[in-house]
Amino acid sequence: MKIAVCLKRVPDTTAKIVIGATRTAIDETGVKFVPNPYDEFALEAAIALKEQAGAGETTVVAVGTDASQETLRTALAMGIDRAVLLQSAGSADGLVVARALAAELKAGAYDLILFGKLAVDDYNHQVGVMVAELLGLPCITAAAKLTVSGSAVEAEREIEGGVEMMACALPAVVTCDKGLNNPRLPSLKGIMAAKKKPLDVKPVTLDGASFEITSLELPAERQAGRIVGEGADAVPALLALLRNEAKVL
């Protein structure tokens, strides 16, 4: 089975996020970057599926600048076989990114293409589904449970008030949610091996965007409120405030 995983380099979720001078991007100075946490579930799923099958090939693909090479090496150190960097500055329009990925993935004739369900930077929730549509493949989003047997794919995804059970056939695109697995950490041996694995760099042009960022802004700071009191005796005072002042009761 040939499996591809699409990966994005994002700021660590604990990093302090500061708006840059252009006001349309963040200031990356001093920010630690990591593989998108949801993409790690996809990487783990790909490696585990290949291990189960005992054969196959796993490929990781990223759209990004040369800085993404380090992120791709992390995926190789986890156990992915080869990497492709679609070298570009990226785009705020998910469809433009999806088109570049679809062109690369189409050529690879993969059985399964995995994504994280969203990237924790721009929260777009869309590139994986768009790639599936562009390639004419079935797509299951936000899978928290995934089984592949033969060419049958079954997945469970959390929806409001329940779990939706989805099914499709390979080749397919699946986007991965937390709960799917526990991503492995790269071993020392894996890190050494990753240095020798192939990483192809292919420049791509991303144009035709129909979404543009006009500005970024910090949300209004919440004012620290007040301590109503200590212990259970403060409960009536709290409820009076919720009812009369906040008017949420």
Binding site: H125, A144, G161, S210, F211, R222, E230, A246
Partner: protein
């Protein structure tokens, strides 16, 4: 601008979020002297469909197909795409269904998609949006310049408006489609709990609850409120105490309830990101220096095991009076 509102139903009845999608669509149409069509998918009639005029729909388009009893990604996207280019904007909810469907529609129409939008406008014929990114730590303002703007709106952000107007219902032709992916059904938990993204009140617990069984205290409080959901911090989800679907924060869900009660949660930056847009925040924690008190409107310092039962009892009294 002509606006198409894509509504959601479950088990043959419209979901509450559908009225929010209509409110957002109406707002956009009114800013551009336009009209709102609402599309409803179902295997047959959908309860509440005849009242949509009063919630802002000028016309309801009813698409029926045997596969539409459950969510049908390929059927829904094919049908919407078949009429989508007649509209300046297509509005969905940023729910499990809308997040799956919006990018499909955008890709089929060859236009951009703005997800999880919290404010909408029209500027020079283009739809403008505000979206929280980095789990709400930054607000992104953007513009959709394609012929049709595909937008999903965050639940609990646009409030339903009842006008008392009448609307009409028309049957919509469903084009033939290939069902590449199929829903095999929805498993429901034994106790029907609201989702944290849709509840008016969210009560979240953290490490301070000491052990998983103590979340019963939060469930009791949620039951006392009646329209509440239980949430959890990343620490307790990672420890396996609670399901990841309940996690609030940057690697979980972003919530905007009327009332958020954080119990035994210290307030890590990635948790604060997920709940800062709640209208009112209450924190209950034994550490008076916990960061959660810096964002909370009201706080009680003390032992949650004494405070919660009292709170539940008092809320019950209020709700039953």
């Amino acid at each position: 601008m002509r606006v198409l509102a894509v509504l959601e139903q479950r088990d043959g009845a419209l979901r509450k979020v559908s009225h929010e999608v209509l409110a957002a669509s109406r707002q956009l149409a009114d800013q551009s002297a336009g009209t709102v069509d609402a599309i409803v998918f179902g295997a047959g009639a959908v309860a509440g469909m005849d009242q949509l005029g009063g919630f802002g729909a000028d016309r309801v388009l009813h698409g029926t197909h045997a596969d539409f009893a459950l969510y049908c990604p390929d059927g829904a996207s094919t049908t919407i795409a078949s009429i989508g280019s007649e509209y300046g904007a297509i509005i969905l909810a940023a729910t499990a269904m809308g997040r799956d469907l919006a990018p499909r529609v955008a890709a089929r129409l060859g236009v951009a998609c703005a997800t999880d939008v919290t404010a909408l406008g029209v500027e020079g014929g283009s739809v403008t949006v505000t979206r929280p990114i980095y789990a709400g730590r930054i607000l992104q303002h953007g513009k959709l310049t394609g012929t049709t703007a595909v937008v999903s709106v965050r639940p609990n952000t646009f409030h339903p408006v009842e006008s008392g107007k009448a609307g009409s219902i028309a049957a919509l032709a469903v084009p033939s489609f290939t069902p590449r992916v199929a829903s095999k059904g929805v498993k429901k938990p034994d106790a029907a709990m609201l989702d944290v993204t849709e509840a008016s009140v969210v009560i979240s617990g953290g490490r301070g609850l000491k052990e998983p069984a103590n979340f019963k205290l939060l469930e009791d409080l949620a039951a006392a409120f009646g329209n509440a959901a239980v949430g959890a911090s990343r620490a307790v989800v990672d420890a396996g105490w609670r399901d990841h679907g309940e996690q609030v924060g940057q690697t979980g869900k972003t919530v905007s309830p009327q009332l958020y009660i954080a119990v035994g949660i210290s307030g890590a930056i990635q948790h604060l990101a997920g709940m800062r847009t709640a209208r009112t925040i209450v924190a209950i924690n034994r550490d008076k220096d916990a960061p959660i008190f810096k964002v909370a409107d009201y706080g009680i310092v003390g032992d949650l095991f004494e405070i919660l039962p009292r709170l539940t009892e008092e809320v019950r009294k209020i709700r039953s009076s």
